[in-house]
């Protein structure tokens, strides 16, 4: 049973943090804080965190939604696997509706007869392979460093069991490479059309890779990074930590999510991944283009379980739908509301771009949770319910932020 979740969503603590952020942020300047992860984007919208921030502290939504950054060509590849090679394709649910070329999606080809199965874990895919020895079963692996170890485990397990009909279509990508790519992009570095003052570092990803990999670009690009948990109080506490660093001209890697993340990360998981997978020379990201050494592929020693070696998987460069701003939204250059398709032809029911598909995508979050902010209907003011008035005593405020000890000792159960 899950405990210690509500503790990270407490209204009274949120109010205290809100007051502290307001007090410490400099009203003369703007703070643009990019959350890399879709998990943060989702938390910010779902809990209405922006409402608790001063006007000059803005969240910029980054590319950290694995569904959103997967290029269309890779979905086309998956569809080809089901249609041309008659495989059972196992996939996580949120990939089902991602638009592919020619107005197709895995959901549509499933309706047309392709054998696409929604699974909740790699173990489900292995089970399907065991139960269908006469069919080829391919697991459509996507995700950042968090979901990579289970894929590696599944490959090792398949080898141990001698499962001849199981393979993995590997699309695992790496976070630090993507953050670096954003910081090196001309928009950020030279043209300054996007000003990013600091980063919320990923939480679950960092539980695997640790906080160390961020140290290089905090130093190189002189931007502070705070590894933040996925609960709304984590986001607010981390925003406060970022604001303090920015005010002091610091650019360090700090760890708010100490209850899970260490500097070194989970070395056992890292070793497991290193045994089965290796860096890809190049991988295409939606929104970022080709990013060198930003993804993983299955090692030659496990080639039997690599769908790309087992089947003919051509490199497809499919272009995005005309007018779709996903690529720019993923880099924080544009907001979802800057896209002409947003809410007109592109909605969660009928997504044109990937950011509208996953609930972690910026467009879906804007549309599903935040679109009332775009209307003029500002008469609907939030009425505090069962809440304590915000303390006005400055003594109280200076001690308002949560200490690490307050957040430590509890378990993250996501």
């Amino acid at each position: 049973m899950i405990k210690y979740v509500d503790e990270f969503r407490r209204h009274d603590l949120a109010q205290k943090l809100s007051a502290a952020i307001k007090k410490e942020s400099d009203p003369q300047r703007q703070y643009n804080l990019m959350e890399f992860c879709g998990g943060h984007t989702h938390a910010i919208f779902r809990y209405g965190v922006q409402d608790l921030m001063p006007e000059n502290v803005k969240f910029v939504h980054g590319p950290g939604c694995p569904v959103c950054v997967l290029p269309i060509g890779r979905i086309d590849n998956a569809i080809q696997l089901t249609q041309q090679h008659d495989v059972i394709l196992c996939t996580y649910g949120d990939l089902m509706r991602v638009p592919a070329s020619g107005r197709k999606s895995l959901l549509k080809v499933k309706a047309e007869g392709s054998d696409v199965r929604m699974v909740y874990s790699t173990q489900d895919a292995l089970k399907i392979a065991r139960e269908n020895p006469a069919k080829e079963v391919v697991f459509f692996a996507i995700g950042f460093e968090t979901t990579t170890p289970p894929t590696a485990v599944a490959i090792k397990q398949a080898q141990k069991e001698g499962l001849k009909n199981f393979s993995v279509f590997c699309n695992h990508v790496l976070t630090p490479a993507a953050i670096q790519n954003i910081l090196e992009s001309p928009e950020v570095r030279e043209m300054s059309s996007v000003v990013i003052d600091g980063f919320f570092g990923p939480s679950h990803v960092s539980s695997i890779i640790g906080s160390q990999p961020y140290e290089f670009f905090a130093e190189e690009f002189q931007k502070p990074v705070v590894i933040a948990g996925f609960e709304p109080l984590d986001v607010m506490q981390s925003a406060l930590m970022l604001i303090r660093q920015i005010n002091n001209g610091q650019h360090e890697v700090e760890n708010e999510y100490t209850r899970v993340v260490s500097r070194e990360g989970n070395q056992k998981a890292q070793a497991l991944v290193a045994e089965v997978m290796e860096l890809r020379r190049n991988f295409e990201w939606r929104g970022l283009g080709m990013v060198p050494y930003s993804a993983l592929q299955i090692k030659q020693s496990y080639a039997d379980f690599d769908a790309e070696k087992r089947f003919d998987v051509p490199q497809i460069h499919a272009s995005d739908i005309k007018g779709c701003e996903c690529p720019r939204i993923l880099r924080g250059v544009k907001k979802p509301t800057d896209c002409k398709l947003f809410g007109t032809v592109c909605t969660p029911e009928n997504p044109m771009g990937s950011c509208m598909v996953s609930s972690e995508g910026a467009c879906a979050a804007y549309w599903s949770y935040g679109r009332f902010r775009q209307t003029n209907n500002s008469s609907v003011e939030a009425k505090p319910v069962k809440s304590e008035p915000v303390k006005s005593d400055p003594e109280e405020m200076t001690s308002a932020e949560l200490t690490h000890d307050e957040l430590k000792g509890t378990t993250s159960c996501q």
Partner: protein
């Protein structure tokens, strides 16, 4: 040896027999299935007339009629099965108009090879639910489809009922200033179904809330005849149902997350599965929208009924040209509570 003159000399094998194509052919085998299974358990005078229709007198007044197909998977789940669900679902749809439900019909689509023992279990469960609700199944139909063309069993039920004078409950009557109530905890049914899905079994004590709500509604209507809207938040949950009502009435809504009752085991399961309890189906809960001055009285009436003991006021109807359902989060921010996009849990009822 004397010749066995019974109509069906060999009894239906309800222990290990299965449905075959003859059970839907209109011939002797079908007659036996009806006699030894459906009539036996769903027995009542109108059904025993054995016509292709049931004939009955109707009281004067406004009648309502509703129909509902049931395709749930799995067929048996904690707290119910497709049989009881097919009674509750339609009784509730009729009752949400404020009507007293009177009679049900049931159409069965059976897949060749479906076990007769499971069919009997389902029909017994239907009969118990109908008996408890006091709403008999008075006519029915059975069809059989070839193996692979169905999924065991689908049941469609239709219900009729009569609305008391002076009651006018409709989805287009929500007005700014009205109060929104729910009759209990949200999301129990959907999580109970999820917990028993083949590829997702997890241990939970959550039971489906599947129940017939007409006696609760009768108490509510007796106390406050001028209830504006009633609806059961089934597929799409509270969030989607409120969006439907907001659109029908051309109003907005404002919810307060802290006031929405959710069982802690349900919220824990939703956390794990990445679901939002506001979008998870219910089968024994209702949403009520009434004038603000009637709300406290209704709340007390609901809480006094066993099916409404966890009833709560959860929000209010507001003016909004965009028809948004908004929520003040427990965290202190606000957000839209949108229509369900896509399919959160397929085949939930």
């Amino acid at each position: 040896m004397p010749i066995n003159m019974k109509r069906f000399p060999v009894r239906l094998n309800l222990r290990d027999g299965t449905v075959d194509m003859t059970h839907g052919s209109g011939g002797h085998a079908m007659a036996q299935l009806i006699e030894e299974l459906f009539f036996k358990h769903l027995d009542n005078d109108l059904l025993r007339q054995a016509n292709d229709q049931a004939a009955f007198d109707v009281p004067a007044g406004r009648m309502v009629m509703s129909t509902d197909g049931h395709v749930i998977s799995p067929l048996f789940f904690p707290g119910g099965d497709i049989g009881s669900l097919s009674v509750h679902g339609t009784v509730n749809d009729v009752a949400m108009s404020g009507a007293k439900p009177l009679y049900l019909s049931a159409g069965f689509i059976l897949e060749e090879g479906f076990s007769l023992s499971e069919l009997e279990r389902i029909v017994i469960s239907m009969s118990e639910a109908a008996e408890k609700a006091g709403v008999p199944v008075v006519t029915g139909d059975t069809k059989v489809v070839e193996k692979g063309k169905g999924d065991g069993i689908f049941i469609t039920t239709t219900g009729v009922g009569v609305v008391p004078d002076g009651v006018n409950i409709s989805g287009n009557r929500a007005e700014p200033g009205d109060t929104i109530l729910v009759s209990g905890t949200m999301g129990d049914h959907g999580v109970a179904i999820m917990s028993s899905r083949e590829n997702l079994e997890f241990e939970t004590t959550i039971q489906s809330d599947s129940a017939a709500l007409h006696t609760l509604i009768a108490d509510m209507v007796a106390a406050v005849p001028d209830i504006h809207c009633l609806r059961d938040p089934t597929r799409g949950g509270l969030a989607t149902t409120l969006n439907e009502l907001a659109q029908q009435s051309d109003v907005g809504m404002k919810l307060y997350e802290t006031m929405i009752p959710v069982n802690s085991a349900v919220s824990a399961a939703c956390e794990l599965l990445g679901l939002d309890p506001l979008y998870v189906a219910n089968e024994g809960k209702l949403i009520c929208i009434c004038k603000q001055q009637d709300s406290e009285k209704l709340l007390k009436i609901m809480q006094a009924h066993p099916l409404g003991k966890d009833a709560a006021i959860v929000g209010e109807v507001i003016e909004d040209d965009n028809g948004f359902v908004q929520m003040e989060t427990s965290f202190g921010g606000s957000r839209v509570v949108d229509w369900l996009a896509g399919e959160q849990l397929p085949r939930i009822c």
